[in-house]
């Protein structure tokens, strides 16, 4: 645990900031008379990393000043040049920490020998450290060397992570990759006045050669092998080294960060790393598997903590504002339109999304525009999870290695270990989810995109503060969790959805739900039906779920499950559309079905269902 200037038990005030690409967000926490930590207030101002300011501390000071104005509590020092730590009885805070994604966050390139093995391990390590992985190069990928060189040169990463070879394994393939990198001579993104950092986490026997090839022109750091044995993946040393180099070589060259680093009590953490820690916190405290998502304007981050294994994926170009047209491109217009209850022409929706792309800060004024953006969100999340599943895979092992060395190109097929039936918690954060006018909208966006199976509790971030609490949790986990549980996590409610394909008009499940007040409600749901039942936040109900004989709610096909379900601001959603579910192909049937769900769940005001509406 990090050394702080004040013992944890004596702390009274904590300040955390997130320096985002566009907005710097301060969150202020206080231990109140109940001896529990509470979220008090926020300050938000534009980030000042770009010209003409080029000093992030200006944005931080402005955000903190807002906190000061709103609370009357003085935090900035007399000169306004830093944060007063610790609290002296009148002013200051006991802990200040921050995350940052300004200037596009940490952008990395990774290399391995075999793409599906050391390449994947290096990719997971970089993602887990909060990086955007711009490209994965491997000795066995199909690209000719000149293409690799061109790409390496044009990418301008902040850092490179090199893996390859088990300890005692291949040396020459690792060396040839190092030679390629040296020949490409990539320059760091934030200026030419420093050497590009490279973390080497491959075959230990090649370390000396790597130093000879790369040691002079790059800031090379040789660490433990990420795949010392084929069956072992050891990403933690790489993650730590990435964070250290991020501070030493990357952040220190971003405008104003040299000053900001002096203000903070702990190292500045990439924003997604903070968000990931918050997701990890949910898993730790509930002792359950968690699937989390941060749906941003430019990127979608998906996190899974499954049987203790933490994996993060970032889909760098799936987002709801800057990247909205990349979702259009990746998903296709038909996949977006299929979620609409309205009869809109393809070209019209396409032009609307393009206009959002070029004016990304605008917000939907009409219901029609809101429904379109929420349709895109479903596709962004669906694609984000698909991407995540390609990273959350079992280790590719010896068979592939032997095949490669013999010059055979066959590889094992990737299998994700994620099983939606074994994920009892889903948590979402990001502007579109947080700002959805009705919480049932965000719950159904997550439900349609991720298709949880069995009984799943759904959470969402109230006011964007998961990254803040993630970084606080590295110092003061108790304070972070208290705020997280009380003020950050909105309990949306539970989704009950059996696994099994709906083939005909059949009974999918019968549910008996006994509420705390003794009232019992019963529902028999046929294929394609979705029903909402009220159960308040922190309320609990006893559910007996009898699935149809071809359906599984978690106890096996056709077997009854009795389980305690938690309520939320939306309540309980009984989803009998089947898993996986597919929408009717025929347009009018599909739109009628979606209108039926909207009505049943009270997702939008009734008038959105009026046919022929136009805005």
């Amino acid at each position: 645990m990090t050394q702080t200037r004040m013992p944890l038990e004596d702390m009274e005030y904590i300040l955390a900031t997130d320096v985002g690409s566009t907005t710097t967000k301060a969150r202020f926490f206080k231990k109140l008379d109940d001896n529990e930590w509470h979220y008090i207030v926020s300050g938000e101002t534009p980030t000042t990393v770009e010209a003409p300011y080029e000093d992030v501390t200006m944005g931080v000071k402005n955000a903190v000043k807002e906190v000061e104005e709103l609370t009357g509590h003085k935090i900035l020092d007399e000169q306004g040049e830093g944060i007063m730590v610790p609290f002296d009885g009148e002013k200051g805070v006991d802990l200040y920490c921050t995350t940052s994604s300004a200037g596009g966050g940490l952008q990395m390139m990774v290399t391995g020998v075999i793409k599906r093995m050391t390449g994947e391990s290096a990719n997971r390590a970089a993602l887990g450290a909060g990086a955007i992985v711009m490209e994965v190069f491997a000795t066995n990928d199909k690209k000719p060397p000149y293409r690799k060189i061109q790409q390496i040169r044009s990418l301008r990463p902040d850092m490179i992570l090199m893996a390859g070879g088990t300890d005692g394994g291949t040396v020459d393939h690792v060396v040839s990759m190092a030679e390629l990198i040296k020949a490409a001579d990539p320059k760091p993104r934030l200026g030419t006045m420093y050497n590009l950092p490279i973390v080497y986490a491959g075959n230990r026997e090649a370390s000396r050669l790597m130093m000879n090839i790369l040691g002079k022109e790059f800031a090379l750091n040789c660490i433990e092998n990420i795949r010392p044995l084929l069956e072992v993946e050891n990403t933690e040393p790489a993650r730590r080294a990435i964070h250290e180099l991020f501070m030493e070589h990357v952040m220190s060259h971003a405008p104003g960060y040299d000053r900001l680093m002096k203000w903070t009590d702990v190292d500045i953490m990439p924003t997604p790393a903070g968000e990931g820690m918050a997701m990890q916190l949910i898993a730790d405290r509930t002792n359950k598997n968690v699937l989390g998502v941060g749906l941003g304007g430019a990127t979608t981050n998906v996190y899974s903590i499954f049987d203790g294994r933490f994996v993060r994926s970032v889909s760098a170009n799936l987002g709801m504002s800057y990247s909205i047209c990349n979702v259009l491109k990746e998903a296709g217009i038909k996949n977006i339109i299929r979620w609409l209850p309205l009869d809109l022409e393809e070209y019209d929706v396409r032009n609307r999304l393009r206009n959002k792309m070029i004016r990304p800060t605008t917000i939907p004024q009409t219901l029609e525009e809101l429904v379109i953006e929420q349709a895109v969100a479903r596709e962004a999340l669906r694609l984000g999870l698909e991407h995540h599943k390609t990273i959350a895979t079992t280790l590719h092992g010896a068979r592939g290695e032997v095949a490669f060395l013999r010059g055979i190109t066959t590889q094992a097929v990737a299998e994700t270990y994620l099983d939606m039936m074994k994920i009892p918690i889903i948590a979402g954060t990001g502007g579109l989810l947080s700002h959805a006018p009705r919480r049932v909208q965000s719950m159904m966006i997550l439900n349609d995109a991720f298709q949880p199976e069995g009984v799943t509790m759904m959470f969402q971030d109230s006011v964007f503060m998961m990254p803040h609490l993630g970084v606080v949790s590295t110092v003061h986990p108790e304070a972070a969790w208290q705020v997280f549980d009380r003020d950050c996590l909105v309990r949306l409610g539970s989704i009950i959805a059996p696994r099994g394909k709906v083939e005909a008009d059949e009974t999918v499940m019968e549910v008996e739900l006994e509420m705390q007040d003794g009232e019992t409600i019963r529902h028999s749901l046929r294929g394609g039906e979705v029903v909402r039942a009220d159960l308040p936040e922190r309320g609990k109900g006893e559910a007996s779920i009898r699935p149809g004989k071809e359906f599984d709610i978690g106890a096996g096909k056709g077997r009854e499950l009795s389980v305690t379900v938690e309520g939320g601001v939306v309540g309980i959603i009984l989803d009998a559309r089947g898993r996986p579910f597919s929408l009717p192909e025929e347009k009018s049937q599909r739109q009628a079905k979606i209108r039926e769900w909207i009505k049943s769940l009270k997702m939008y005001p009734e008038n959105v269902l009026d046919e022929g509406r136009r805005s």
Binding site: Q150, Y347, R350, M357, T361, E369
Partner: protein, 385 residues
């Protein structure tokens, strides 16, 4: 403050207004012209430059080529040095022998030759690779706008300054270009068709309309129009022209030969009258344009710069971008009033519900037809004049 109030506060801050696009008749414009790597500056402080004056030049290292020599020769990697005919730093010609051997009195030959003219950069007995690199190639940067050199960036380039009319578009395609301005339609609502593009448009920057139809776009590219400035473009027409779909709005590298600047957005969009009037006023003048757009933090919009070739007097004072207040001229940039121009009437402090049921900070705008409407503040942009 309660949690609810706090959330409102966040909502307010998160949706600040969109800064307007610049439409200036007279503006001191500076352009930094910088080499990608250090080189030689070719201009002096105070020099007058034209659009194509070379400002600085340098030699960019040539492309490297990797030759897996040991594998091609069928030898152990560690013995590669024994077979080398050249050494590191040697100049080489295409087809020249790099490494290899003759055996059995010349009956069995195996040689690796250079695929390029250049020099030997690396010979590696560990990987068995030879890396050869092409000779450096010269790169020159030009002034882009006409004006005066006001600053020299040692070994890097220079800063050029000029008084100019300056118009920002919302989205563009293609890089820097220059040519004579020609307005091809006085009607900001006209859809430009192929027959509007005449042969005398060649080499010019043509301006007009709410939209260039697909055939008009193709014809303009075919006859060699330097640039197009128009109100809108249809998404699928752009895809058709480029041959691919744009995912993220980071453009400027497209190589279709014609730079395109869209002033309003996607779809048929009435061109802002002030933009059209300004273009008409400067018709016949030489202008520089750049379609490069980056919509992310540090937004970059496409631009049209018309350096003043004569003294330009403007009637009104400059209005500085000082945020919105009653009387500020704005344009609505989202449905249901997309494209409408108006004047700010009031800026209510409290959050208001709009049709989507979002509770947001709003603004009351009087449209040009006299109607008063409420729109989210995030959905208007200030018209900077």
């Amino acid at each position: 403050m309660t949690g609810g109030e706090e959330r409102d506060k966040v909502a307010k801050e998160a949706h600040a207004y969109t800064p307007g696009l610049k439409i200036k008749e007279k503006m001191k414009t500076r352009k930094v012209r910088r080499l990608p790597i250090p080189g030689k500056v070719l201009v002096n402080l105070g020099d007058r430059v034209d659009f194509l004056t070379p400002v600085a030049e340098t030699m960019v290292p040539g492309e490297p080529t990797v030759i897996n020599a040991a594998a091609l020769l069928g030898i152990e990697r560690g013995t590669l040095m024994d077979y080398m005919q050249v050494k590191e730093a040697d100049k080489i010609k295409e087809g020249e022998r790099l490494a290899g051997f003759n055996a059995f009195f010349g009956l069995w030959k195996n040689w690796v030759t250079s695929p390029i003219d250049g020099y030997v950069e690396t010979v590696s007995p560990v990987s068995g690779q030879i890396i050869v690199r092409e000779e450096p190639t010269p790169v020159t940067i030009h002034s882009y706008i006409s004006g005066e050199v006001v600053k020299i960036l040692e070994n890097e380039g220079a800063v050029i300054e000029t008084e100019a009319a300056f118009v920002q578009g919302i989205f563009g395609i293609g890089g820097e270009a220059h040519g004579e301005l020609k307005v091809i339609s006085n009607d900001p609502d006209e859809r430009i068709k192929a027959n509007n593009i005449t042969d005398d448009c060649k080499g010019k920057i043509i301006v007009g309309g709410s939209l260039f139809e697909r055939e008009a776009l193709h014809k303009a590219v075919e006859i060699g129009v330097k640039g197009i400035v128009t109100g809108g473009i249809i998404d699928v027409d752009l895809e058709d022209l480029l041959g691919y779909e744009i995912g993220v709005a980071i453009t400027g590298e497209e190589e279709i030969g014609t730079t395109i600047i869209v002033t309003e957005g996607f779809g048929a969009m009435t061109m802002n009258l002030r933009t059209l009037e300004l273009m008409k006023k400067f018709e016949g003048e030489m202008a520089a344009i750049n379609g490069a757009t980056q919509i992310r933090a540090g937004v970059l919009r496409p631009e049209i710069i018309v350096p003043h070739s004569r003294r330009v007097e403007i009637a009104a004072d400059y209005e500085l971008a000082s945020g919105m207040k009653p009387g500020t001229r704005v344009r609505i940039i989202r449905k249901p009033y997309f494209g409408a121009l108006g004047t700010v009437v009031s800026l209510p402090v409290e959050l208001k519900f709009v049709e989507s049921e979002s509770s947001v900070r709003v603004i009351e705008v009087e449209l040009e037809n006299g109607d008063r409407v409420i729109v989210p503040r995030a959905n208007v942009e200030i018209i900077e004049t």
